[in-house]
Every structure is written in C-alpha cells, then in structure tokens.
C-alpha cells in the first residue's frame, strides 16, 4: 500500500512538473497579470533587501536586457526568493555577490549566458532591442544575442566606451531587419520553400480577398433600370375590347363558384381500371351538380374575346381560390411579367377539361345537343385564348383546348357518328378549319421576347447600350422563378433559400452580361424561325437545337446562361407542336369529310382524292413525308395515319406505345428530363380513329 501511494505521488509530481514546464513561459507573465515583468522582478529584488552589489547584479541578469526574453518570470522570481533565503545568513560581501552572480546562468539552466559577459545597461538594451526585432526562432535569436554580446564585451575589453560601441553599431532597426533576412537564408531549404509557399498563399489569399471585396461592392451597388412596362403591352390587347365582349368575367364567376377541388379525371384516358371508374363516377356527379356553372362557361365561350386584364382588382375573389399559392405578382413597379404565372389561362384549361368531360357524358347519354354545345364551346374557348397577347404558353393552351374539341369530335365520329347531324358536321368542319385563320398552326414566340426583355430590365443594370450586369434584385428574380432557375430540375419543388451576398456576387460574376444574353436569345429565335419556316417534311437538323441543348449540359454554362435556360425552355420544340396540331386538325377534317362521303354514297372512298374539292379543299399532306395523308379501310372502317418520325409507311401499324399525348411516333428529337428510348420509333402515327392513351 505504501509503495502504491509513493508511486501515485511520484506520478502526480511528474505530471505537476510537466504542467509547470508548459505553463512556465513568458506568456504566463501576461496571463498572471504581470504586464511589466521587469518592474515586478525589480520590485521583488528591492523588497528582499539584498546588498547593493548583489542587487545590481541580479537586476542586470534578471530584470533588464535580452536575457529575460529567454527565462520565464516564475523562474526568475523563484531564483530571487531562493537567493534571498540563502544569503540572508551570509554577510554582505562583494566577493560573494560576484560569485553568486556568476553562477546565475547555470542556476537558470542557461549555460550559454556566460558569466564573463556583463554588459552595461545601454548595450544590454541594444542587444535586447535588436534580437527582439529579428523575430527569429529561439535558437537563432540566442545565437545572435550571444554573438552581439560577445562583440560588445570584446569592445569593452579593448577599452571602448559603451556609448561609442552603441554608436558604432548602427541603426538597430535596420540591423534587425538585415540580420533577420540573412538568418532566414540560413534556414533549411525545406523551410525556405515552405515559407515562400506560405507567402505566396497569403498573397494569393489577399488578392482573392481584395478581388472578392471589389466583386461584392460592385454587385451590391448594381441597380436595375426599368424603362418599359410590358404589362401594359399585355393588357392593351384586352383593354381594347369593350367590357361587354370580354369572356373572362364570366369565366371568373364560374371559377369562383365551382366546387373545389375540381374532379381528378382525365376524360381521354383508358377507363378500364377500377380507380378510373371510381374517379369517373365522382366526375359525373360533379358535372351534374355544377351544370348551371358549365352553362355559364358555354356562354362565356360565345364572347368574341377573352379580355383578361392582369392586375384587375375584380380578380381578387378569384385569386383567393387560385390553386397555386404564389406571391402577389403585381408587386414592384412595374411588375415582373414572368411572375404573372398566367393563372387565368391555366384555369381556363381546367374549365375546358370539364367541358370535354361533359361532352363525353353527353355522348354516352346520347344528348346530341349538349355534346355539340360543349364541342363548339371548346373551339370558341380555343379561339379566345389565341386572342391573348402572343405568349407561347397561351398558344399552347389554346392548342390543347382545341385538341380536346378535335378528340371529342373524332371519338364521337368513330363510336357514335349518328349524334352529329350533317349540318353539325359541316358547321364543325368550318369552325375547325377557321381556327386561327386556317393553314399551318404555329406557336407564336413574340411574347417570349417580352418575357426576356422584361426579366432582363428587372435583373440587370442598363448602361444605355443594352448591356449590363446582374444585380442583387436580379439574383432574387432568378431564385424566385416559378420553375427554379438556378437549381437542378429535380429540386424544382423544394423551397429555395436565399443566396448569401458573397455567393450571390460570385454567381452574378459568372452569369453572362445582358447584351450577350439578349443577342443569344434573338439568335436562337431567328435561327429557329429560319430553320422551321417551311413544313415539317422539309426540316433538317439545325445547329441551334444542339446549341440550346448544350446550354444545360455543362454546369458552368448552365449558371452562366441561367436566365436563358429558364426563359427559353425547349423553344426548339415549339415549331413541332404546331405541326402536331396541324396534322391532328387535318386528320379530323378528313375524317369529317369521310363521314359525309359515307353518308352520301353509302361506302368509303377508294382514296382521299375523291373527297376533294366537294368535301375537302385538298387532300392534306402527311406532315412527315409531304405525301398525301395515308388512308385505308380496315374492317369497313376508315383508317387515317401518318408515316411517323421514321417516315416509313407501316400500313397503319401503330408504334408500341402510340399512346402518349404526342405519340412517340411523332417525336423528332425532344429534350426530356429523363433518358428515353432511342428515336425514331418504328411504326406509324395513327390519327383516326383515335388511339386511347394509357
């Protein structure tokens, strides 16, 4: 037990000693509150009452000069106290004082502080001053200190005065600087290289920091200059229309009163699944309950113009029930056009779906009047949507609504043609062919320019020549984009946090300047317009399609051209959309003509040429090949089809999945979010009778 105690005590003493050794540094002088260790040691020496020779010697060794740079306050204080105790019993004697003083270096465990070097105070201070300023390693400092002390002691021994030695020394500051520089050259190569590398890194860091500060300042000070109110241009279309001729107020009234949520049922899907049948029952019941509102929608469709005025205070009630929870798009003066979201147009599509669903119900109930009314309302609604300011999205929705009318008519022709009287068919044919003035259907891109220019004026500075840099407001605009501008597509639905100012400044530095983006946008539009001017069968791949795809392939380019990436989503596919609806329209007109021919003659024509010019102005072309649309009679039913994207006539055999909204047979090359099967797909694009979608 005793041995264990001794061992524990010994370990404790060893740890204590270690800790004291660590603590025993000049730094502890400050930590312990001794701001001026020198004066404290001096006071301690004075307080002990040493004989003057000893006190003087102790002051020189412990309280002044360069030696104290290398011994801690604690050690010196302990020495003073120990000497005081020991010498108290001794008589005051110069010899003893000198002997003791000479032993101090050894007692301090600093043998190189030789007793033979006793410098007068001015020289001692000079050595301390120079050595401190060199800021060298401890071993280097000690060497320099010893050498300088040695030099002065030689000088004193040679009979020179301290003053002359000090004068002859030169400028201590310069000396310290030169000594440091020279001693650094003496250090190992590895250290010198490391030092240079650290210096270079520090310089680089400083340069980067300075650059970042300038970048941030430049970014923070940037302000957009808004010069044009594009919203006024958009609203000018509707404001020209007398209020009595505007359809939107009636639509709005219906939307506000309609039960929410709207039925989740696609009237054009395959209804074989139980879930589908269940949804259909609910939809049927919904339509019955809301028939008066549907009638209001039909009345609205009869109006000659859509008449949506964005920012109309009378839309307040409708905005409350609007399904997308967006911020007020009319903040800012003038407001940002892209923030409108065109919710009114989106809701019209929802109403169109209700009409289409009602048309199917009417067909099944053999209610020809209601069926016809719904189809006509759909065509009229599609026309109204074309009356809107020419955004591609509104044109797209117009086409979509028009297509609902085409599909409904085509399905009825295929399954219950008797519901359409001859006059109904003739009227429908006229309405369908008159949609947007007939001819080739095209998505207008004029409105995209408005989006681009308006977004840029809200996001960039303006140097007066159409150029500028991205501003803090611009970063916010890009981050708040409805479709998530600076985030990956897969993060679209996640709320986006604001960028910090330094990060935003760097992002802004990467984003291309306004003029470059504007020029690029105009280039893309012009090239697409030029390359797609003719019909689809004359199309060839154009370079701009690959350029647009390349914008999103490289992460750096995606940030640099972020405004364009978001503002011009898949614009290379817009011309194809028009071709699709043109073909679909032509197919329905041909189907109507076939039906009329069949009713007149009792049989189907041998070829489509027999329909012209009485029932069809001319045989419509297959928009993939340019040849006449393909026609066959199968099982005593007419079959209309296009050769499809492979431009190969497969006799009307549909592709494996000729079921999607566009039909894979029609895909040219389309940019999708996920990888898809290689194109083109073998098979034909069956146009009539309609193929159900899965």
């Amino acid at each position: 037990m005793a041995e264990k105690t001794r061992s524990t005590d010994s370990r404790r003493a060893s740890w204590t000693k270690t800790i004291w050794n660590i603590v025993e540094t000049p730094i502890t002088d400050l930590v312990q509150g001794r701001i001026n260790p020198r004066s404290s040691i001096e006071r301690r020496i004075d307080a002990q009452g040493f004989p003057e020779p000893l006190a003087r010697a102790l002051r020189l060794r412990l309280a002044v000069g360069w030696r104290r740079l290398f011994t801690s306050h604690r050690r010196r204080a302990a020495l003073v106290d120990t000497l005081a105790e020991t010498l108290r019993a001794l008589a005051a004697d110069d010899a003893i004082a000198t002997t003791v003083a000479a032993r101090i270096p050894t007692l301090l465990k600093r043998p190189w502080l030789t007793s033979s070097i006793v410098l007068p105070s001015p020289l001692d201070r000079l050595v301390e001053q120079v050595v401190r300023r060199t800021r060298l390693w401890k071993s280097e400092s000690q060497d320099v200190a010893a050498e300088l002390a040695s030099h002065f002691s030689e000088g004193l021994a040679a009979g020179e005065s301290p003053a002359s030695l000090a004068e002859a020394f030169g400028d201590p500051q310069q000396a310290a600087r030169l000594i440091r520089r020279a001693k650094l050259r003496n250090r190992p190569l590895r250290h010198r290289m490391l030092r240079r590398a650290m210096q270079a890194l520090c310089l680089l860091a400083l340069a980067v920091a300075l650059f970042e500060c300038l970048l941030i300042a430049r970014f923070v000070l940037a302000r957009p200059t808004i010069t044009h109110n594009y919203l006024e241009d958009v609203n000018a279309v509707a404001l020209r229309v007398p209020k009595s001729e505007r359809a939107w107020p009636l639509y709005r009234s219906a939307l506000v009163k309609l039960e929410r949520p709207l039925p989740n049922w696609d009237p054009f899907a395959d209804h074989s699944e139980d879930r589908e049948r269940n949804d259909r029952k609910k939809a049927t019941a919904y339509l019955v309950r809301n028939e008066p509102l549907l009638e209001l929608v039909r009345q609205a469709a009869h109006k000659p113009h859509l008449g949506v005025v964005y920012g109309d205070p009378e839309d307040a009630a409708w905005r409350k029930v609007f399904r997308l929870k967006t911020a007020d798009p009319f903040l800012g003066s003038p407001p940002l056009l892209i923030n409108l979201g065109l919710a009114q147009v989106s809701d019209l599509r929802a109403l169109a779906l209700l009409l289409a669903a009602d048309a199917i119900m009417a067909r099944e109930a053999q209610d020809a009047r209601r069926l016809r009314a719904d189809v006509v309302a759909l065509i009229e609604m599609a026309e109204q949507l074309s009356d809107h300011y020419p955004f591609s999205i509104t044109d797209n929705i117009s086409f979509s609504v028009f297509n609902m009318a085409l599909k409904t008519t085509a399905e009825t022709l295929a399954t219950a043609p008797e519901l359409f009287a001859r006059d109904d068919l003739v009227e429908l044919a006229h309405r369908v062919s008159a949609y947007r003035g007939g001819g080739r259907l095209r998505l207008r891109m004029d409105g995209e320019f408005a989006f681009v220019h308006d977004t840029f004026q809200h996001a960039f500075t303006d140097d007066g020549d159409g150029d500028g840099r991205l501003t803090p407001e611009g970063v916010k605009v890009l981050m708040d984009f409805p479709f998530g501008l600076l985030v990956p597509f897969e993060d679209l639905n996640r709320p986006q946090s604001d960028l910090s100012v330094p990060l935003a400044a760097n992002v802004a530095a990467i984003v291309a300047r306004r003029k470059e983006l504007t020029d690029l946008a105009e280039h893309y539009f012009a090239e697409i317009e030029r390359g797609r001017r003719g019909p689809m069968w004359e199309w060839a791949p154009i370079a701009v399609e690959e350029e647009l795809i390349a914008l999103t392939d490289d992460p750096l380019r995606r940030v640099r051209y972020a405004p364009l990436v978001q503002l011009l989503p898949a614009i290379e596919s817009l011309p194809r959309i028009g071709e699709f609806y043109t073909q679909t329209r032509d197919a329905l007109l041909t189907a109507i003509a076939l039906e009329l021919f069949h009713r007149r003659s009792g049989h189907w024509p041998k070829n489509l040429a027999e329909l012209a010019p009485d029932l069809l102005p001319e045989v419509p072309p297959d928009r993939f090949t340019g040849r006449p649309l393909n026609y066959r009679v199968v099982n005593d039913k007419p079959l209309l089809y296009s050769a499809g994207a492979d431009r190969d006539d497969d006799g009307g055999r549909p592709t494996e999945d000729n079921l999607s909204r566009f039909g894979r047979a029609t895909m040219w090359h389309i940019r999708q979010l996920k990888p898809q099967k290689p194109l083109p797909v073998d098979g034909d694009w069956v146009l009539y009778p309609p193929v159900k979608r899965d």
Binding site: V144, L148, S150, H151, E154, G155, F169, L178, I179, A182
Partner: protein
C-alpha cells in the same frame, strides 16, 4: 571618406573574404581590421557586418564556430571555406579587370614604372 552604399555592397564581402583568407577571425576583430587596413574607408558598423557574415554563411562561403578565448570569453570565429576561396578568387579577378579598365580610361592614375 564615406563610400556609396552600392560600392560598399560590392566591396564589403570581398574585403571580408580577403581578411578571412589569412585565418579565422571573429566579428569584433573583423570590424577593427576593416577599419585599420583600409584607413577607415571600408569601416562598417556591426549592423552591416553581421548581416554580411550571415549572408556569406548562408552562401557557404564562410563557416562559423564558437570558441573560448584565453580570456574566458566566448567568440564566434568565421573561417573561409573552399567555396569561399573560389568566390574570392573570382571577385579578385573582376576587381582587377575593373581597376584596369578604370586606369585605361583615366579614372585611376597609372602606377609608376618600377626600377630603372
């Protein structure tokens, strides 16, 4: 006479190496020798000498060594290395060439012929 710093920068190292050629010397001894041998022209303070010596040490032209003198004082002696001798020889040749050129131009007076 105070010599221009640029001239001292070239002459100082050569002078020190020349003195060391005769044997190791310590700092104070070098200061004194420089002053006495050059009649004060090449006198330099310690703030100049010691950096010079450290530079020569870094370039491996001199080798330092602490020794204890008879008086008991410790001194740091500097001795010329083989590399330092080569450097000295090279410098001497250059100085001779410069002196000859200066003499030819007329900056330095021609030495009087020796003998009869």
């Amino acid at each position: 006479m105070k010599i221009e710093r640029e001239l001292m920068r070239g002459a100082g190292p050569v002078a020190v190496l020349t003195l060391l050629k005769n044997g190791p010397m310590y700092g104070y001894e070098l200061v004194s020798a420089l002053s006495e041998c050059s009649a004060g022209v090449l006198a330099m303070g310690q703030s100049t000498l010691y950096p010079l010596l450290y530079n020569l040490e870094a370039q491996r032209y001199v080798r330092p060594q602490w020794r204890e003198a008879e008086s008991g004082r410790r001194r740091k002696y500097y001795a010329l290395t083989a590399k330092g001798e080569k450097r000295l020889a090279r410098e001497v040749r250059q100085w001779q060439a410069v002196a000859e050129a200066m003499t030819t131009i007329g900056v330095l007076p021609r030495p009087l012929p020796v003998g009869g």
